[in-house]
Each structure stands twice: as structure tokens, then as C-alpha cells.
Amino acid sequence: MGAHASNTKRIWQVFIYLSVLTIVEVILGILKPDALFHNELFSLSYLNWIFIILTIVKAYYIMWAFMHLEGEKSSFRWSIVAPMVFLIAYLVCLLLIEGEYIHDVFKTSSMRWIF
């Protein structure tokens, strides 16, 4: 919590960051530049990588500034953020790899979509 001083300046600053990030996402989502849209890195287009990274940056600002993790003790911060980051990254990795594998099995199997 820190001092009982007002944090309004920081709050509006973070609001502007979040707004700018969202506007950038929306503009990219509408324009869909070909170079980013059609080229891939690890089965994901560059555009999607940008969206995901910007989203994580937004999540960082929401958690650190609005939810005030930046003012908590680092042990408390770690007890929340570490399980979240590791478990989610683990789950997402497994499921996405598996999803793509099943997709390939469907595509190359002897059973075809005939109707």
C-alpha cells in the first residue's frame, strides 16, 4: 500500500498506456498488413504474436498498477505471479502442440471428409 499519498497521476498514466495499446491492436486488426498477416513463426502469424505480446503487456499494467502488485512485498507478488505464469505457459504449450498434432492426423489419415 505504501504511503497514503494519492496515486492519481500514475492511474491516468496507465489508463493512457492501456488505451494506446488497445488502439494499436484494433488498428492492426483492421488493417492486417500482409507481411505480418501471412508470414508465420512457430505456426502463428507475426500479427498474432504482436497481439499476444501486447496483451501480456496490458495484463502487466493492469496487475502491477491497477491491482497494485508493484506496491506489494516481492514474496507476495511471486506467490501469485509465479504459479500463474508457469502453469498457464505449461498448459498452453501442451494443448497447442497436441491440437496441431491432431490437426495433422486428420489431414493425413486415410479417413477423408467425403460428404
Partner: protein
């Protein structure tokens, strides 16, 4: 009862991390709110990971989000992808700002300011839930309509330039329907069947044969380009008409006109679960708002309760940021 309560009866001192150490440096209530948020975010991560899994699994037959979510209030018929959800995102971020301002005012024990900001947060939350209801309404009603094949594939219709056609644009409605709905007012009791779609399957088929410009667009994407669906030529279109099974308008939990069946289910489930969280958040905010007005926290000499509910409210915003990305952008 006495036998089950163990700690209250004993005089033993509970270890609190040592005198003046306070390992986590947070009050019990705040700590538990955070751990609830941790577990809840893992739940949402599970849902979104399931969405990613399903989408990777059906990578070449997944609907294109821009074509599904392209409505904006008072702008009928215009193609406005994203603007509406972007607006919803701003509403929620802004209500997060008013919430954090309420917490900030609470630290300075300014009752009136806390109450004002809480009220603004509640209004923001209600506007967001209302927006989501409108979004659901559009999703459920649908725009163009489609046909499902025997194999469960969704076929949409386009004209020669690739512009989407609604079923009503070409279906032959002069023909009698073959599927009159079985309803009580027609003297059919205890039976269900027929359909409540605006046009029947044979009307669609007849219309397709009559209009040489109508082509079928399949659920599958062009090889090598995940962002473009395969359009059949006229000959293939007529041949494909033999596989027609259902007329699909809008979306429900069984089928939807946008494409793969899982898409509708995941949309309803994930945005619904998030909407439920927002509703609960609004309810909690209202309770806290009245407590502020009654001076409960003034008496406690601390507005920490506003902070705890604020954490939940920011969490709802946090989840939306991810739902926005994975449903609408990616």
C-alpha cells in the same frame, strides 16, 4: 460442533510468520482474494487454452472472426469489424480506472469521492453487461444464414464477386414449405419437429438452382492461406446441393451459421462465464457502494474492503483483455 472446531478451543498460538516479519505483508482478506483470483485465472486459462486447442485442431475450417463480429449499433448492414468490441474494451478499462480511483480515495478516507467513483464503476459494469447482451443477440440471431451438410459442414453462400448472400436473397419463397412446423395451434400435440427457420431447405435448393450467380463457400480454407475460404464453382455448387441437410440461421449450442460447431459452444461458454463474472462483480460493487454510503468503512477506519472488491473488478478486466485478443483479434 465443539469436537470439530480445533483451533478455537486451544490456547495454542498460531504461527503468523514471526513477530514483525509478516512474510507476505498483506492482510488475510487481501491475500485470500488474490489466491481466489489466482485459481480463477487458471480456470479461465483452461477455457482459453481449450479454445486454442480446438482452433489448432480445426485450423483449416475455423470461422473468420471479422465476418462474425461485424455489427455496430445503429449502423445496420455496414461491415464494422472490431469497433464494437474495442468500445466494450474501453468501457471495461475505464470502469477499472474509476474503481482504482475509488480505492485511491479510500486510502485518503474521502467517503464522498469513494462513493462517486464506486457508482461510476457500477454504471460502467452495467453498460458492459448490456453490450455483451447485444453482442449475444446478434450472434444468436445471425445475419446471413447457412446450410449444414450431412457430414456436418457449414456451407455459406456468395455471389460471383465473393460477397456474402443471405438465404432470403435467393431462396425461392414462392414454393410451398415442405417442413411446416408441428405446433399446438395446428392441432399437433406432444410432437415436435419441423423447423422455425425463415426459409425451408427445398426453398433454398430451388433458389440455388434458379439463380446462376449463387455459389457455395465452404467451411474450409484455401490450402496455404488460413484466411480465405474455398468457394466452389457453379458446377460443384449444384453437385454439393445434394448433401444439404439443415437450414441454419444464427447460433445455438448445437450448430451455428458461422462455421465449425465448437466455435458457437466456446463463444457462449467463455464469454458467458466472463459475463457471469462481470455480473457478480457489479453485485459486489453495489453491496460495497451501499456500505460506503452507510459509513461502514468510516467506522472501521479503513476502506480495505473497497480495495479487495477492486481486485476482483480488475481481474474481470484482465480476463476480458485476453478474451478480446483470442476471440476477436487472433
Amino acid at each position: 460442533m465443539g469436537a470439530t472446531v480445533t483451533t478455537a478451543a486451544t490456547k495454542e498460538k498460531i504461527w503468523e510468520g514471526g513477530e514483525d516479519i509478516h512474510p507476505l505483508g498483506a492482510s488475510y482478506g487481501k491475500m485470500m482474494m488474490w489466491f481466489f483470483i489466482l485459481s480463477d485465472s487458471l480456470t479461465f486459462a483452461g477455457f482459453l487454452a481449450a479454445y486454442g486447442f480446438t482452433r489448432f485442431k480445426f485450423m483449416d475450417s475455423w470461422p473468420i472472426a471479422d465476418e462474425v463480429f461485424n455489427h455496430f449499433p445503429f449502423m445496420h448492414g455496414t461491415d464494422a469489424p472490431m469497433y464494437y468490441v474495442a468500445l466494450m474494451t474501453f468501457i471495461l478499462i475505464f470502469s477499472s480506472v474509476t474503481m482504482v480511483l475509488a480505492v485511491d480515495a479510500g486510502h485518503q478516507m474521502k467517503k464522498k469521492k469513494v462513493a462517486t467513483y464506486m457508482l461510476l464503476t457500477i454504471v460502467g459494469g452495467l453498460v458492459f453487461v448490456g453490450s455483451q447482451a447485444w453482442e449475444w443477440k446478434n450472434f444468436i440471431t445471425g445475419t446471413y444464414g447457412a446450410v449444414e451438410t450431412r457430414g456436418g459442414e457449414i456451407l455459406q453462400f456468395v455471389d460471383k464477386d465473393g460477397k456474402r448472400l443471405a438465404l432470403a436473397d435467393f431462396a425461392d419463397t414462392t414454393m410451398a414449405r415442405e417442413d411446416a412446423a408441428l405446433t399446438k395451434n395446428k392441432g399437433v400435440w406432444g410432437m415436435s419437429g419441423g423447423s422455425n427457420t425463415s426459409v425451408s431447405l427445398s426453398q433454398v435448393k430451388a433458389g440455388l438452382e434458379k439463380n446462376p450467380d449463387v455459389l457455395i463457400r465452404t467451411q474450409h480454407t484455401v490450402p496455404g492461406n488460413k484466411h480465405e475460404k474455398i468457394t466452389l464453382n457453379r458446377e460443384q455448387t449444384l453437385q454439393r446441393a445434394n448433401d444439404f441437410k439443415f437450414v441454419v440461421e444464427g447460433a445455438n449450442l448445437v450448430r451455428n451459421e458461422y462455421g465449425h460447431k465448437s466455435f458457437g459452444d466456446l463463444f457462449f461458454f467463455i464469454t458467458g462465464f466472463h459475463g457471469f463474472h462481470v455480473s457478480v462483480g457489479v453485485l459486489l460493487n453495489i453491496i460495497i457502494f451501499f456500505n460506503v454510503l452507510l459509513g461502514t468503512y468510516e467506522k472501521r477506519r479503513t476502506y480495505e474492503m473497497v480495495e479487495k472488491v477492486g481486485l476482483y473488478w480488475h481481474f474481470v478486466d484482465l480476463v476480458w483483455v485476453f478474451v478480446f485478443t483470442f476471440f476477436y483479434l487472433v
